[in-house]
Amino acid sequence: MSVADIKVDEHLAHDDHGHDHHEQSFIQKYIFSEDHKTIGKQFLIAGIFWAIIGGGLSIIFRLQLGFPEMSLEWLRPILGTWITDAGKLDSEFYLALVTMHGTIMVFFVLTAGLSGTFSNFLIPLQIGARDMASGFMNMLSFWFFFLASVIMFVSLFIETGPAAGGWTIYPPLSALPQAIQGSGTGMTLWLVSMVFFIASQLLGGINYITTVINLRTEGMSFSRLPLTIWAFFITAILGLLSFPVLFAAALLLVFDRSFGTSFYLSEIYINGEALPNVGGSPILFQHLFWFLGHPEVYIVILPALGMTSEIISTNSRKPIFGYRAMIGSILAIAFLSFIVWAHHMFVSGLNPFLGSIFMFLTLIIAVPSAVKAFNYITTLWKGNIVFTPAMLFSIGLVSFFVSGGVTGLFLGNSAVDISLHDTYFVVAHFHLVMGSAAFFGLMAGVYHWFPKMFGRMIDEKLGYLHFWLTFVGVYLVFFPLHYIGIAGFPRRYYSFTSFDAFSTFTDLNAFVSVAAIITFGAQFIFLFNFVYSIFRGRKAPLNPWRSNTLEWTTPRVPGHGNWPGAIPAVYRWPYDYSKPGAEEDFIPQNVPYSKTPESNLDHEAELAKSENITPAPANETK
């Protein structure tokens, strides 16, 4: 492959080879597009849409929790009869709100919005590929997701309300419309939507895996892959192995609901009637659900960690500390994530011996997670840190990952979990370590790759404002929940007035709600910044962050096929920042060792001799 036209120096005038691709119609280009960049943006915009809905739902139930006396009459135009005659939120709709908040945030925002956006956008750009292995499947992946979204969205508006049995949809509650209205049509739509969602995930996942394995550019060995790609790659494998299990769980639930089978139902008497079902086990569903559900939280967090690795390294102007340890910990986390699921079930009636086994395995997973946190911090050490908004969001992610991670040691310990299970302590734990951390990863990614996505810079100052309001806000929302959780407050409670034991902390709950509203409000600063910068932002330089990875060697707005000429070849790992001897504090991956004799380490000097390149235009004379 010829590398003669690689742009080593981004200051070179960059002419767009418009003749490389034929003109496409509007529909081909923006709607049913097979271009990974467009599909990534489609996922991003859909994810942002869902994040507003999911966040909005949480504000409604935070109003109920923080200000139980407040009249919510003003929500009647939106919620209709879900506001009772007394002007209060209906207690069943409250459950629907928490259910849909969880479903939307976990699946539609942090799985589709995060992996969908950045796996699509970054994999071909960072490994040096023209596009995904199958553009058509990739397009299908988005449109299946779109279909799932439409169905889930419609379910919000039906008369009996959306699914309301918690995002974990444990049967029998989710199987019996007699038990809760939301388990009627709402649950049916939930299940149908998830089937399409799973199909979307599988189509996307197969594509990511195939692309990473087969379409890496010359020289891009696995040991030179950016950690983002490692994370996306492993995430896709996790999804491919675990989502079909959710599919199976959902399918059996559909059978139980509609065809009279008894996979999960047994010995039930409800509404004055003994049901005919015997021999099923609700615990079976929990096993199947969490067999996906636990890897799912890593599906959510690993891409965020991968992008953070890249962003922290770039903006510290230092190589990521322990590149191989980082890959090792991703692999270890991914492997362990499949064998810890029953820690969600310590008090489900699980055999206590099984509980012991899962406690051992669960606490082991803390080791690779700790390694990652320590490596991030060491990467900052003696760096030359540039605080872009993306960098701040990445630092915020590490902070959340630690804060939320350490509380996992309580919950993973089955003896301690007895009193903490299903309390607000759990809510605090996963919102920090999984929810907020992954959300910050998503935000970091948007700020960092915005110039590549839209060819313009996103405003930095508004980014700072957005970061600090969100970062402080998230801590003010979720940190107090630990105290409430230690006090034993159960989650998914419409109100705490029925119990003397939970009559305390009304002020704290109000405080949390205020913090939540401010945090949610701050997201509109981002929304404005995002939309406005797409059209009015300053035009982006080719490599605004002075980064090493391949996407910054493309034109300002990469066209179809990403690189106008030949795809650049790769000669080094992506983290040659501040290499001793080098003039600049970064050396992009496509710069051969033979061109940087002044900074080569011993083994690299050896490699330089065997490098097979045709002489590139010498732009940099050093």
Partner: protein, 360 residues
């Protein structure tokens, strides 16, 4: 009107944002930041990191060490709770230390190593010794936590002592029902098909042990004696949760579960300890179960063992209170049922006995 105000407010906020956006852009151009790789905002961000660290640590320490209006630790009232609480606080000590230390490193490094013109970062790609240390140290600490947790867990979930009081707790939308074994201290069988409006828990009267079972309106427990809860649910999953006893176990339809524990404080003692004269132990549902989940409560009263025995002996069998259910008893056992449930006793004698008991 309100809608108009909202729309105007939104427009106003939008206008402010656009103005901020334009102003910062222009100020940036004036300052010459626009083309620069690192802008003047960098120092401010570094300082804010440090400020956040300090404010965070102060806030964390203040609120964790008593700055909150309410106490966040529920008073403890069970034997195994002593051990789980101890584990909880050991874990708390370890994690708080790690939490504070890592946050200090994270934000202090961010501040200290902020971009400075002319500085160059240290090329420091790996250090195997460091990696091994921070793999091994957490591994060792975790092993200690796991082993102590595992010991406690095995003890708590192990078989209940022989002399335990066996009590059935059944969850249903949206309350609980409890059943005691009666004079023979044995719970009779149940069958979900036998449930009706009166026989709420579905007692199966073909089992001899069920004749003297009784169903009170409150869960009464003896202090200091092991209590073995046999837990089940009638419709959907519920969870038997009691924060003071550090007790939690799901109630699952079709799959009986159990939990045993020893209450260590009577309700009266807790009233004294908490200073709340109305203190009641409450049984809480802690698994989402429907509309009334948040109000699924049942009262528990812990009494001195002697008082418990007296109360226990004074309870009428359920069958006696609902003697038309005698028809469900198989013919050959009817006589036995009449005697065991106390229906056979002379009503007057029974009344006198009750009076004697309550006078004591």
């Amino acid at each position: 009107m309100l809608n108009l105000i909202i729309i105007l407010a939104v427009i106003l906020v939008l206008a402010i944002l656009i103005a901020v956006f334009r102003v910062t852009t222009l100020v940036g151009i004036v300052k010459g930041d626009a083309g620069k790789y690192v802008t003047s905002g960098n120092k401010v961000q570094a300082a804010l990191c440090l400020l956040f660290l300090l404010a965070g640590i102060v806030g964390f320490a203040y609120y964790s060490l008593g700055g909150l209006d309410d106490d966040f630790v529920q008073p403890l009232a069970s034997e195994h709770g002593v051990e789980t609480d101890r584990l909880f606080w050991i874990t708390m000590a370890i994690t708080s230390f790690v939490f504070i230390l890592t946050q200090i490193f994270l934000f202090f490094f961010a501040f200290k190593y902020q971009y400075k013109e002319g500085n160059k970062a240290t090329f420091y790609p790996h250090n195997n010794t460091l990696e091994i240390i921070w793999t091994a140290v957490p591994a060792v600490v975790l092993t200690i936590l796991i082993i102590s947790g595992w010991k406690t867990w095995t003890k708590i979930t192990g078989p209940a002592p022989e002399e335990s009081e066996i009590i059935e707790v059944m969850g249903y939308q949206y309350s609980w029902a409890v059943r005691y074994g009666g004079a023979d201290k044995q719970l009779g069988d149940y069958d979900f098909k036998k449930i009706d409006v009166v026989n709420q828990v579905g007692i199966d009267f073909s089992d001899k042990a069920s004749f003297d079972d009784f169903i009170p309106t409150k869960l009464i427990l003896p202090k200091g004696r092991p209590v073995h809860l046999k837990i089940r649910a009638r419709d959907v999953i519920h969870s038997v949760y009691q924060p003071h006893f550090r007790l939690q176990m799901n109630a699952v339809p079709g799959m009986p579960t159990r939990f045993w524990f020893v209450p260590t404080k009577t309700t009266a003692e807790m009233r004294q300890e908490t200073g709340n004269p109305d203190f009641q132990y409450e049984l809480v549902c802690n698994k989402i179960c429907g509309k009334g989940h948040f109000a699924m409560k049942y009262l528990i009263e812990v009494v001195e063992p002697e008082e418990y025995d007296k109360w226990y002996a004074s309870q009428d069998a359920w069958l006696k209170q609902n003697d038309d259910y005698l028809s469900q008893v198989p013919e050959e056992l009817k006589e036995m049922a009449r005697i065991a449930s106390g229906i056979e006793n002379n009503a007057e004698i029974q009344e006198v006995e009750n009076a004697v008991v309550s006078n004591n």
